[in-house]
Each structure stands twice: as structure tokens, then as C-alpha cells.
Symmetry: D2
Subunit: 354 residues, 4 copies
Amino acid sequence: MKKRIGILTSGGDCPGLNCVIRAVVSHATLTFNWEIVGIPYATQGLLERQTIPLNLHGWDLRGIDPLINMGGTILGSINKGDTLASAKEILASYEALGLDALIAVGGDGSLKIIHELSNLGNWNLVAIPKTIDNDVALTERSIGFDTAVNTVVDAINRLTFTAASHDRVMIVEVMGRTAGHLALHSGIAGGADVILIPEVPYTIKGLCNHLSQLRDQWRRKFAIVVVAEGATPCLEDLDNVASCSSAKCGRGQYIADQIASCSSNLIDTRVSVLGHIQRGGIPSALDRLTATVFGKTAVDLIAQEKYDQMLAWQNGQAVAVPIQDALDKSPSLVEPNSDLVQIAHSLGIYVGEN
Amino acid sequence: MKKRIGILTSGGDCPGLNCVIRAVVSHATLTFNWEIVGIPYATQGLLERQTIPLNLHGWDLRGIDPLINMGGTILGSINKGDTLASAKEILASYEALGLDALIAVGGDGSLKIIHELSNLGNWNLVAIPKTIDNDVALTERSIGFDTAVNTVVDAINRLTFTAASHDRVMIVEVMGRTAGHLALHSGIAGGADVILIPEVPYTIKGLCNHLSQLRDQWRRKFAIVVVAEGATPCLEDLDNVASCSSAKCGRGQYIADQIASCSSNLIDTRVSVLGHIQRGGIPSALDRLTATVFGKTAVDLIAQEKYDQMLAWQNGQAVAVPIQDALDKSPSLVEPNSDLVQIAHSLGIYVGEN
Amino acid sequence: MKKRIGILTSGGDCPGLNCVIRAVVSHATLTFNWEIVGIPYATQGLLERQTIPLNLHGWDLRGIDPLINMGGTILGSINKGDTLASAKEILASYEALGLDALIAVGGDGSLKIIHELSNLGNWNLVAIPKTIDNDVALTERSIGFDTAVNTVVDAINRLTFTAASHDRVMIVEVMGRTAGHLALHSGIAGGADVILIPEVPYTIKGLCNHLSQLRDQWRRKFAIVVVAEGATPCLEDLDNVASCSSAKCGRGQYIADQIASCSSNLIDTRVSVLGHIQRGGIPSALDRLTATVFGKTAVDLIAQEKYDQMLAWQNGQAVAVPIQDALDKSPSLVEPNSDLVQIAHSLGIYVGEN
Amino acid sequence: MKKRIGILTSGGDCPGLNCVIRAVVSHATLTFNWEIVGIPYATQGLLERQTIPLNLHGWDLRGIDPLINMGGTILGSINKGDTLASAKEILASYEALGLDALIAVGGDGSLKIIHELSNLGNWNLVAIPKTIDNDVALTERSIGFDTAVNTVVDAINRLTFTAASHDRVMIVEVMGRTAGHLALHSGIAGGADVILIPEVPYTIKGLCNHLSQLRDQWRRKFAIVVVAEGATPCLEDLDNVASCSSAKCGRGQYIADQIASCSSNLIDTRVSVLGHIQRGGIPSALDRLTATVFGKTAVDLIAQEKYDQMLAWQNGQAVAVPIQDALDKSPSLVEPNSDLVQIAHSLGIYVGEN
């Protein structure tokens, strides 16, 4: 039976989404001769019953398929809104659009909403995890994470040389919401001296001692401090979260202020808030491959009519896990005693008081 | 006569400084058999009479000369302090260190101080311009600018795809102090829709109209706004510079607030403050070549005992100009009717009310 | 007991080797206070009883630890020579140097030799797999492979735009020896139209038909052909391997000649032999992390006196496997019906006659 | 008067061509409201009277203008064929297509042919120089050169670390046809030890002595040799150009053979032929700016009805020069005693016998 499949991308964008779309379109078209339509702006497009026809000639520019090199998503995305309030209408749209199945690419937040919709109605849903926060459970890889780690490592490299030239402490605030994966991976790979993440409590005293030790014992006059945007307040300051006066200024500036204070302004700091460049960039080879494998396998699941599954990377291959199981355990945070935290310690990196 | 030459790097660091050092050491050693010593931390090292011996084997790592690939400066730098108060001691150090000449690599601020010192005493000075702000007069190129422009263009690229995916206006705050060169060059090269620089006044009304026109007339739902850190307040707001409540939040956040206001919060903005990643990175080929040519030519000037000169790039080659002439005209700002501003207009970019 | 540990890198170099060295030195020094010595040029350095002291200040350049950003190996490497003929002398050296254990980083060829030496004598050996060929068995990751895949993908991107501008077929010859992993991964990630690998037989007729179909059915006037250096001769040509007249010209040129022939010179081809740029480059974040985890864990194995093990990545973490087991199954080749080959088919890529 | 302008790209492609097209379309549309048509495949498209409508929405992909980031040319190009034989027909096409003027982007070869056509008929021609060979006379910059230099420097960086790890001499063959600009610029910027270019004769003896000196006097066990594809045969070998047995193997392999011979096979060499990756890549900021300035200024020249001019970069700005003057002096080769050659000498680089 010729199927009509919808695909949408939801939540914050990241590199690799277009590779999923390309793999889905290629495999569904070439192998099964199905029809694939894109749903723009996730559930909003669904609500408005909009579709974008997707085929192998869709974005032709002298025959170049630009999708695999492009960041972002050609389908657009949203990560806001009161989706569930329109649940009935959205479910009716799925019906009205004549979709046989829906492939949803999203992070744990988006997938929760879409999964809830599928529980309310009669969707044939296959989910694909993407997130630069890497906090979707049950999968070793989520699309976008590898590229983001490389982006942050590149920024750390750039900052290291200017830090060393001016004997400065460079503070790099990175994304990740409630999870420290991005900070921890990029900090270790980039050669950071301090990594502060939400999952591990720290003290300003411990941080300042470490910087002093670097300077005095190791004669390293500069340092790189990676701070996750969601890093907890320091232990000394748990009662006084408001101590960072402006929410806009973020955890990076808070840490800079604390270092200035503990060093009597002797330590010269600079704060870089990497912001949305972490969501951009040409996708890394690994993100392209993961996206391609997930996209192709999602089509295979639909062929087998195996729904309510999320693609996951486990033991070197793509497998299907029940969405509910993955979402139940998401967001997946850094274990304070995980291998990577141990490794950070073994490299002499300060990651808090554990 | 075998000379003993000092070299120092001063002011904010940038990619290409180490290429100057390498060229100076190579040419002075191989061609003239002179002795070269590095002065760490600019005038501070001079004051403290510190030197670092520099030779062709200086930073050997399996024989790799890492200097040409490294950002920053192996000599260290400072860009603060009341140097002239110690003028007498610094001049005495030059004498005491037995230097026959001094090569100073710096921006217009640093070169002014060092030139003033040379006026007070008896220095044989050759200056080399470096600045990511590109505001040293009389030279078409300064070391570090080309790399910084490429860094900002890369960041704009990354932001463009995520902007397009979410129909957002991305605001990118770039360095440049009082000059708009970095914003203007990178904005044009990167495909920005708006470029705000210190030299051209703008209105919030004009800016918002342009964004509306993009959206309504050209059906472009996202936009890229490049804002120089020193962009003037808008014309409507000249009396009220304090409207950006926190100095720490910068011009980018100010523009975001204004856009939110003029669009009744309909336009979704995100601010990226690129910060010190603009000073980092592997030097571009052009910065390496300029640095190498300047370094080599500085040694030639010393061989000719032609002092108080600054190297400048003019008409496709390195020439010497009197330092005083260059500094008199620095900082060199963007002409509001310059070719590049005209070009921005011709591409449909909003650059203010001229 | 304070141990004295040797570390050597053997076989063709790749990005990430220095990250292993850094992790080993950091963990062994900071956690255990052991002494680490580098053995230059693998078994040759051992034979000559040379050591390089390694400590946390070893390659200081203004305090920057350049090791994590550098490709290559500061210890040097060799991948030739009749090592086993000197087995007795090499084993005596291990004794004479007072080593308590040896960490050997190498590919399957090097590790085989070193393991054989350890069988002959009394070495306490821990092995770490590195190879851009990705052909070491029992481990999902080997150091260097991820960077090499990204390097090839970058080259394919560059070639795609020039191919499309001139309606050419670009043939990219990549490394991998007897294995097709590098070609297969980079070809899929890079958007290749044809991928020829040693493990899957192909016919010139099939290849030419595919190119015709691209041109006629899909109106794609250019194509990207990725050829592994060890790709088998085509099925039609099995008796006549010498048909590529010059061994120096390689498989890429052979394929170009065949396409010229089958298309009566109508198809314009260009051959790029990527060569040793595939072994270079700044290590990717993933290779840095894998190298760091392997290096740290190797030290832990020595602390547990667990020898004759190879580090392997399995199920999302580093584990130890008996070297013999890994080598028995190496080189690990591409399964002709593996998931990735299926995925290539599903994207419409020609990978031969299966 | 509303004009109808044609634009074509001719000869080997390079990064930056699409930036010219974007600037031409933007300025002609926004400022003058003219009509712009692309002519595909240079004179072949003209002969076949094909046009591609170009406007500000032409290649829209979620509103992203991908042209500035893309290498290659969306118009396609050819660099072969007996164009002048069809001169009459091509001139008739220009007439038939109703073109008021033609903007031709090409290297010296292509521009010669197109200029000759304009001499034969009644074309209103404006030329824009592009070439990774940098051999168009009277202009300090040609589009594509800066990106190509950066590409080669990146390749040299990659090769340097693997060369150093294995004590090898890496030979890098780069493009440039009869000119050595690309080899000379990238060799100096990349830290090469030897640069062989067509304009400077060399001897194998001089080359081998230099490599020996590096090894013995400077204790550098590896070396980087950059060879222009058009490097002359060595002086000892002028009578025997055929000594490189196979034309396909190129100058790089020839040099490798000579080094093997002069060192009695003691020096281990590897040859990398960079090939067409030198024509690819994301355009550098400088190439984007030059392309944009040239494109905008070409439109201005047409508005002034100033024809038979080529855009050139002189003294920091774009100027118009008579095409004939530029072509008369093209190809512009490296002066054997130019500043850059002197600089190479002063860095201790072997560039032949001058």
C-alpha cells in the first residue's frame, strides 16, 4: 500500500535535522515509493493543516542536494506555545491530511508533547531524538550533540590562546539547560581547567583555590572555565540565588563576579556567552551519519507498522525503544560519579565538591 | 655590526602576532646573524628588564615551528596600566638591556604610548600595526583583522541557519571599539540585513521599518543584525544613552529591547555577544603573509637604521611611514559615504540614515 | 608502589595520539604519582633504549598545553621494519629501562607485533587502538577515525560545488587499506553517489549505468564517486588487475579510465587522491574524548595490574578486552550486508552488486 | 531606461563567483530596477540562447540566500571548446537575447576569448577577474585566490604534523598553471621549507643540499615541499623533461623520485596532489568582499555606459581598467626577485637558484 507520511521538526533546531529529512525522503521514495510531506513549524503547521511536498528534487540548486551540509531545518520549528490546548484540532488535522504515519524529530520536551497527542488520538508516531543538550534517555547519541561539542571545543581553542597571551581567566558559558553533558564533553575535549555543571555542586572557595593552585603550583597564569548555563548556584550561596542580579547576564557573569571577589580583583576575567552559534554550523560527520541512520530506520519502522517508538543508538546500532520508556527517564542528566566526571578529576579539572 | 634587537607585542592580542615574531627571528638570524630578544608583557617586561631569548629553535616541538599556526602571542601582552608614569625607568631599561632597536607590534593605543616613550628618550623604534579593529591609519591592512572578519562571518553563517529555522532576528554584537570596520566587513561578507556602526547614525524607526519590509515585501521571516559594540545610540535616543540599563549587557541587548518594543514583542530576537573568540583562532593566510612581510621588512628598516617608522600596506606592498603621521590620523574610522557603506546600501542592507 | 610506565605510539599516525599521552601523564601523575616516560619511534626507540621524560610541564608554551589540539604524535612513530628479528634485544630493553608496564597505542598491524613481543617475554602490556582505517575488531571506536571521516567529508563538500559547476564526475580516492569503513562512512555523510570498497564487488557496467541513470532519470549532471584505495578490481576485470597500468596512479585513476571508456569520453572526470591530509588535522571532539577515556583507563588497568588487555569502546563505555581476542578478529572489515551498506542502498548510492 | 543585463561565469570555477552574482542582482534590481539574466555555461549557453532569470528570490530556501556561502557557480561554467569558431552565432545570440550589456566573470584565458568576441561584434562588455592562479594582470586581487591560499595552508598544516611524526618529507603539489603565486603565498603562509615555482629555476642538488642542511644543521627531521604543478624541470634536467615517466603523475611525484635518488632512498617522501579541493570550499571573507565590490561596481560601470573595462583592485579600491591593457600583460607571473621571493629567502626557504 502506498503510504503518505508526514515529517516535522520540533523544538530548538540543531545541525543534522536536514539529514534526517533527506534520508526519510530518499528511502521512502526509492525503496517504497511512498509520498512524504513536510509539516512546517511542527504542531503549528499541523494545526493549520499546512504541508510542504518533499521529493528528491525538492531543493535543487544545480542538482546539488544542499540538505546534508545545511544546519537548521528546512521545515522550520517552534519551541513555544500551548500545544495541548489545541489537541483536538491537531488530531483532526492529522486525520484531515490523510497521513498514515508521522515522523517527529525533537528533544525530550517536544517529544513529550507530541507523544501525549498520540496518546489522545490515533497517531502512528515514530520519534527521532535530537538535542544539543544530549539529555534524551536510552540513546547514546542524539542528533546535533556532536556538532555542538565540536563548536564549543573550537571556541575554547580560540579563547585559550588569547587567555594565555593576557594571563586571563576566560569563562565560557555554554548551553545545556538542566544538563551538563555539553559543558562536560566540550570542557574535557577542549582542555578546560574548571567545568561547572548543574549536576555537581561546587563552592566558590573550591573554585578559587583551584585557580590559585594552577597559578602557584603549576605556574599556569591563565585558565579556562566552562560553565553550563544551568550550573547550580554555589553551595555557599544556595539561599541567595538572586545574587546574580540580572537574569540576562547569566551564570558566566556570576562566576566572573565571584572570582573577582575571591581574588580581590587580582584575577582578570572575560566572559563569553556562546549563545546560538552552538545551534549552528555545518553538521559533523557523526551527526550526519546518526541522522541518516535514524531517518532510514524510521521509514523501516513505518513499513513494519511498528509505532510509538523512538529511534535510539545503543551498542553501536540504531534500535527502536518505546517512546514512553525514553521519556520517562528524560531528561537524562550527568551522573555525578560517571566515568566522564571521574576522567575530569583525573585530568586535574575542578568539577565541584564530589 | 652585530645588533641586539628587542621585540614586544602590546595591547589586545590577535592572530598573526607569532608570525611577526617568527619572521623577525628568521630574517635577523639567517640574513644578519643578529641577536633577538623578546620582551614579555610589553612595557611591563621592559620596566622589569625581562627578556626571552628568541632563536630558530626556541619553541621546538619535534621540530615543528608552531608559531605560525598559533593565535595569541608567546611574548604575552598587556593593555592597561599607567605606562607613561614610569617613562624614565622604561627608557633606562632599554639602555640597560643593551638594545640597538625595538620592534613594537601594537594597535593605535599601544603604539601611541610606545611612540611617546621613544620621543622622550633615545629609542630606535620600528612599529608594526596589529588590530582586529582595523583603525590604524595609513595602512590598508593591520595584522589580525582578516582573521577576525572570517571568525565573525563564520558565526553569522552559523546563526543564519538557526535564525531561518525559527523565523528569528539574530543580533550579533561584534568588537571594534569606536570603529565599525569589523562590523561592516563581516556584515557584508556574511549576508547581514542590518549593520549598525558607530560612524553612521540610525533610528529605531528606520531599523524596524527595514525589518518589516523584509518580512512583508521580501517574505523573509528572519534577519541578521550585526551591531558594533560601539554603535551609537539611536537618533531618537541621543538624550537617553542610559536606556540600556546595564552596561554589561551591551549594544546588542539594547537593540533587541528596541526591536521588541517597536514590534510589540512580535519579533523574536536572540542576542549573541561574540566576545573574545574574535581575538582567537588560527591566523588566516592573509594575516600570516602580512605579518611575515611586516616582520621581515621591520628587520630591513633596522638594517638601514631607519627608525620611528611604522610598517604600512599600501598599493600592494609594505612601505614605511613615519609613526607620527599614522598616529595623527588614528583611529581611522569608517567614512559614512565610503565605498563599502555604498555597497551595503546597494545590497539592501540597512546601515542607518545616510 | 611508585611505578615507571612507558608509552609509545606505533604505526601510521593520526589525530588524537597526543590526547592519549596527555591523559596518561595527567592521571598517572596526579592520581598515582607515577613516572611516565615516552619511548620515541615505537619499537625502534625501545631497541635503542631511548626515553623522553613526560610530565605535566613537558611541552609548555606560555603554559598552553598544545597536545590536545595537535595532530601527529610528539613521540614519533614508525610503521616499517623487521621488528621481530630484534625481539630479544627489545625485550632486554624493556627490562633495562626498568619499566613496570608499557602502554602501546597502535593499529592492528602494530599491536600484533607488540603483542607478539609481549608473548615472547615478560611485558606488562596495555594496548590502545588507533587507526583511521577503523579496522580493529571488538571496539566501536578507534582513535583517529572520526577526524579522518570529517576530513574526507570536508573534501567531498569542496569537490561537490566544483563538480556541479562543471557537470563533472569527481572521483575521490580515500585511505583505508583493506577496509572500506572510511570510504563508506564519509561517502554516506558527504552525499556521494557511488562508493566503491574492497568488501563489495562491483562492475563497470553497473557503475556506468548508475551514472547514466543519475544524469537521465534524476537530471543530475554531476556525481561524486568515493573509491577506497583498496577497492577490488571490478568483476569484469578480475583476471586483469594490471589494467591500471601504474600502481602509483591508484584505484581512483583506474575508475576514471573506466568511466571514460564506458561513456566514450563523454563524462568529464577529475581524480583527487586525498593522501596524507587524511592523517592530519586538529582532532575532532570525539577523538579527543575517546583518546582521553582510553588513556585514563589504561592507567587504571595498570593500577589493577590487569595486563595483555586492549581498551575498547563497547555499549557507550570503555572496557578492557584481551588483546588476543581483538587481534584474532582484526582487520575488521565492512560486512557486505551491514546496516551502513543497506543505508547507502536506501539513499540510492551505488555500492556494487549486492 | 530599463536595461537587460546578462551575466556569465567562464573557465575553471572558484569560490566567490556566486557572491558576484548576488551583488549584481541586488544592486541592479534594488538601485536601477533592471532585469538580470544568467547565461548558463558561459559562451555555450550564449550560443544556445539559454537564459536563467535571476532575481532576489531566485534560490530561496526558507528565505536563506545560500549564494554567498556556496562555492562553485550556479550558472555553470565551461573551460574548453573552440568558441571563436562560433563567433558569428554567439554575437547573433547576444543580439537576439536583447542584452544591453554583458558581465563576464573569468580568468585570463576566458576573458581573452570573450574580449575577442566583443571586438568582433558590438558587445557592451564588463569583465571581472577570477582565478585561483592569481595571474590576471593590473589587479592586486582576483576572486578565488584568497580562499585557495587558505585551503592549501590548511592542507599544509595537516601534513606538517604527520610529517613530523614520521620524519618524512611531504611534497604538496598545488595548482597555478604557469604561475607560482598560489604555491608561493601558501608555502610562505604555511611554513614550507621548499617552494618550487615555474618562474624560478632550481637544481636537484640545491634542493637536496637544503634538505640535508635542515636535517643536519637545524636538526629538523621532516620537511614540507610545496611544488607548483607548473614548476619547471630542474636545471640539471632541462634536456630531459620526459624524466617524469607519466604525465599523470605530475611534478610532485617527479620531485619525490629525485629526492629518493639524491638521498639514496634514505629520505622517506609522500606526495599529496591537492587537486580540485583547491577550487572548492566556502569562500573566504576577503573573496566575498572583493566579489561583492566587483559585482556592484560592474553594475555602476554599465549605468555609466563605460564598457570594455575590467574591474581591478588597486590601492585599496576597485577601479576600471581597459580589458585590453589587463590582458596584454596577462598571465602575470611571479617576478623572480619580487618581495615575496625575497621574503621566502629571508625565512630560509629554498626557492631555487636566484
